[in-house]
């Protein structure tokens, strides 16, 4: 099947408006006869559920957590971008569009990104109307801060809990509809298959995580807002329950999986402390507004710091290597995430890592505390030369801005980041790849939609900070409700979808068979044993720097691990009860397939772009020596993989990316 992205005609700035003017609508009376299933209740799924229910559709929403409010969008810290230009610093829809495409290393679809930038301002209006308490200035107006990879301040935030506040906003909108009976909420339900009837997605199979009951649910369309697959690395900043299962089952039912190898490794996470580690904790990118990243210049100082003989704050300024400021003077500490992560890895690989494992760099707030302290002293007519006072005032400012993050760091690491620099290291955080969707956010299966992080569309090969929240809410509040209407307008005479068809039966049987296999396998190793092994392969060979040999090995090893898993996994208990191990086993089974496709995609893409860095694709000389080298001639396309049984048999389909409104050029942050 050839990929048709269905991008509307016309100039980029008019595409979305023209599209909306020309689509088919469903009249309110008919909407009452149409059911829509939404899987996932994060920013994308939650906002979509609420909006579709407001429009009049009957929504069935599903989440595996005990409440929609727990979806992992809640953990997003830093902020949400919007082209409001409240700061008057030259922001515009075009600039947000440009920054996002450039930040994504020119691997995203222009029309989608432009639409995203266009609706971004509406998101802020909508959220404020819902009562989301964004940070404000003393004048009562909304405050902004800046994020990596851009030159304007367009990020709206609510301390370090922006994701939480936005999700609770979407959750409140859902609650209103649940109260009205327009959304039927299924908590603690996991989607285990998509049901395709006559070529159209018409339902899902779920498992009730409390009782183990396998249920059939039908609808006229199915929307997946099930997030990313970062947990394929075992250790990531994702929630423990975040999984690829829904997306992967959709892939197996015919939805192409696009760019699986585009993974964001976030530069500022708390370093791994030991083998017991179950997950990694992010420190918001917003910290890079005020924190300066460095390692010692000399190896002997590194040794002294590692052994505890030298305190980091005692090291003299001239002996520190602020390597981001050195390498990227224009953007300094605010380079995009992929660039910052690779730079940290480069220093640590060269032996300058500052903790016992050699995998950490410093994020230092001392100069910000000084700067803010002096400012406060001047404002309040106090003595600028009183060092203790300046420090105290500065710490207060920093506490106001990042207090919850500093507290979190202190609880985890047991060090006071106000007095000693934080230690950070990159960690898997977000996946730009995902289910392929067209301009309508529809997958290659008619009637099956995919929104938010679960799809591939807007961030290319690298996502800019504060853009994930923007995309999730844009898709759910402002894009999908239009595009799905156009599709559903053909379904007004369909009537209720029966769950008694052979397609439902067959899908349910497949689900039951897999569960029975897992329960009855009685192997010798736990699910986590396999998951950790997979994670190690992924991190070492498909991680921040990739090469042909490593990727080839990874493909082989993952395949072997998968075979071993099916032969030897041990799942205690039964299906007919709350059984976390069983739920985990199903998820890891899918990761073991995705992991292989991931590596295969990384192997085929013989260029470096965004989060995908190939050691054999770097600039060899000139000003950009050592930087990632993109190959627009051969790889300016979306790699969409079609499922054919084994991941190794997946068939590649290319969607060529056209850049009409932005000139393709090398990304430079120098």
């Amino acid at each position: 099947m050839a990929l048709d992205s269905k991008i509307p005609e016309g100039p980029i700035a008019d595409k979305w408006t023209n599209y909306k003017n020309n689509i088919n609508l469903v009249n309110p009376a008919n909407k009452r006869n149409i059911d829509v299933i939404v899987v996932g209740t994060g920013l994308a799924g939650g906002s979509a559920s609420a909006t579709l229910a407001e429009l009049g559709y009957n929504v069935k929403a599903f989440c595996f957590q005990d409440s929609p409010r727990r979806a992992h969008s809640i953990a997003a810290q830093g902020g949400i971008n919007a082209a409001k230009n409240y700061q008057g610093d030259g922001d515009s829809t075009y600039r947000l569009f440009y920054d996002t495409v450039k930040g994504g290393d020119y691997r995203s679809r222009e029309a989608n990104v432009y639409r995203l930038a266009e609706v971004s301002a509406n998101i802020i209006d909508q959220c404020v109307a819902q009562g989301v308490p964004f940070a404000r200035e003393y004048g009562g107006y909304l405050d902004n801060r800046s994020f990596g990879g851009v030159l304007v301040s367009r990020t709206f935030y609510a301390a370090g809990q922006t994701g939480q506040q936005l999700l609770l906003g979407a959750y409140s909108a859902m609650n209103r509809q649940i109260g009205r009976g327009k959304i039927k909420m299924y908590n603690r339900h996991e989607m285990l298959d998509v049901v395709v009837v006559d070529g159209k997605a018409r339902g899902i199979i779920t498992r009730n995580l409390i009782t183990g009951e396998i249920e059939r649910h039908s609808a006229h369309a199915v929307v997946l807002g099930t997030g990313g697959y970062g947990n394929v690395f075992f250790l990531s900043t994702n929630a423990m329950g975040s999984n690829v299962t829904a997306a992967w089952k959709a892939h197996k039912r015919g939805a192409y999986f696009a760019n699986p190898c585009y993974t964001q490794i976030h530069p500022t996470c708390i370093p791994v402390s030991g083998d017991h580690q179950s997950k990694l904790t992010l420190m918001s990118e917003s910290l890079r507004n005020d924190g300066r990243i460095w390692v010692p210049k000399r190896k002997e100082d590194v040794e002294a710091i590692r052994s505890g003989k030298l305190k980091p704050k005692e090291l003299k300024e001239e002996d520190r290597d602020y390597y981001l400021e050195r390498r990227y003077p224009a953007f300094g500490n605010l380079v995009p995430r992929d660039v910052a992560s690779r730079a940290a890895k480069e220093r640590c690989d060269a032996g300058f890592g500052v903790n016992a494992t050699g995998e950490a760099v410093f994020l230092d707030f001392a100069s910000a505390i000084q700067r803010y302290g002096k400012e406060q002293a001047l404002i309040h007519h106090l003595d600028v030369n009183d060092a203790a006072l300046v420090k105290k005032l500065g710490q207060e400012v920093v506490k106001n801005k990042y207090g919850n993050l500093f507290q979190m760091y202190e609880k985890i690491v047991d060090q006071d980041p106000y007095n000693t620099p934080m230690m950070i290291y990159p960690a898997v955080h977000y996946t730009m790849g995902g289910i392929w969707v067209d301009y309508n956010l529809m997958t290659t299966v008619p009637g099956l939609y995919c929104i938010g992080e679960a799809n591939f569309s807007d961030h290319g090969a690298n996502r800019l900070g504060a853009s994930a929240l923007m995309q999730g809410l844009a898709d759910g509040y402002f894009v999908l409700p239009y595009t799905i209407g156009d599709y559903l307008s053909n379904d007004i005479r369909t009537g209720p979808i029966s769950t008694d068809s052979k397609e439902f039966e067959e899908a349910e049987k497949g689900v039951r068979d897999q569960i029975n296999h897992l329960i009855n396998n009685k192997g010798t190793h736990t699910v986590d044993h396999f998951h950790k092994k997979l994670g190690k392969i992924m991190w070492n060979k498909v991680g921040m720097a990739r090469n042909v040999q490593g990727l080839t090995e990874a493909i082989k090893e993952i395949k072997e691990l998968r075979a071993e898993f099916w032969k030897d996994v041990k799942v205690p208990g039964t299906n007919e009860e709350f059984n976390d191990e069983l739920a985990k086993a199903g998820r890891v089974a899918d990761y073991l397939e995705l992991g292989e496709l991931f590596a295969k995609d990384a192997l085929h893409r013989e260029e470096s772009c965004g989060g995908h860095f190939r050691e054999d694709a770097v600039e060899l000389d000139g000003e950009q020596k050592g930087e990632a080298k993109r190959d627009d001639e051969n790889f300016a396309y979306v790699a969409a993989w079609e499922y054919k049984g084994e991941p190794s048999d997946a068939v590649l389909h290319k969607e060529d990316l056209e850049f009409k409104d932005i000139e393709l050029k090398q990304r430079s942050y120098k």
């Binding site: 727990r70 209006d125 404000r136 409390i210 009860e577 191990e581």
Partner: protein
């Protein structure tokens, strides 16, 4: 370090349940409490015993999924943290640790340490929202300036993660801190004032119908709240409720 755990085991909602002793050895002080339980579970599965069921998800203190009543306190002895952020350095070698589910009639046990907190969701369905449709045509976000103090106070209330530690800690199993946090957030914002009367009446009614107890102002909730939600919110809700009752 080596620890003795006394963990509440209960097969399902109908089972009677009881405390069972477990030993865990070689616990690292850098582990989080849940990672310690991971180790125990891995061990139990390898010994063909049933692992302990507990709720958890984000493991960074924001999703509100983890619970646990540890040594007589919700989320354990540390302050301002959820169980997933509680680290084993808070305990000593040789300690005995009681691990029980959050207890309240309105939080029935599902299995072991997992409880059903959907009563919280139902309270939110009753009024935890501002009735505004998604349109993209709502007024500009800066059209209504909001006093920074009010905005910050509303934010502080809005940081509630809905974990239920307040209910678990309260000797009366009262949900007043949880409900008042939402009521306060909206009561402090101009957008929320329009529906203030109905909101507080409906949410309090649902809270009562769910079987939560009456607040007696012991303040335990505020102390145990991982997000430091203030008792001032309860006072504010009391005012809002009385105002609303007088209006009818």
């Amino acid at each position: 370090m080596n620890l003795t755990l006394k963990i509440w085991r209960q097969k399902n909602a109908k089972d009677k349940g009881g405390l069972v002793d477990y030993k865990v050895n070689d616990v690292s002080p850098d582990m989080s409490f849940l990672e310690m339980l991971d180790v125990l579970n891995e061990d139990l599965i390898n010994k063909d015993e049933e692992p302990v069921a507990f709720d958890h998800d984000c493991r960074e203190g924001i999703c509100g999924m983890c619970s646990l009543y540890i040594n007589g306190e919700a989320h354990g002895p540390d302050r301002g943290v959820t169980t997933c952020q509680l680290h084993m350095r808070m305990f000593k070698d040789g300690d005995t640790i009681y691990i029980e589910p959050f207890r309240a009639a309105a939080f029935p046990v599902i299995k072991d340490l997992i409880v059903d907190r959907t009563s919280f969701d139902r309270i939110q369905h009753a009024g935890g929202f501002i009735s505004v449709n998604t349109s993209g045509n709502t007024i500009d976000a800066n059209a209504i300036p909001i006093n920074k103090h009010d905005a910050d106070t509303a934010f502080d209330a809005a940081t509630c993660i809905g974990c239920g530690a307040c209910v678990a800690s309260c000797k009366n199993s009262s949900a007043m801190l949880f409900v008042s946090a939402k009521v306060s957030q909206f009561a402090l914002l101009p957008q929320g004032k329009i529906e203030a009367t109905d909101r507080v009446l409906n949410m309090v009614k649902q809270m009562d119908d769910e079987g939560f107890g009456n607040c007696t102002n012991t303040g335990a909730c505020e102390v145990e709240c991982p997000k430091g939600i203030s008792l001032e919110n309860i006072a504010r809700m009391n005012r809002e409720y009385l105002k609303a009752s007088l209006k009818g």
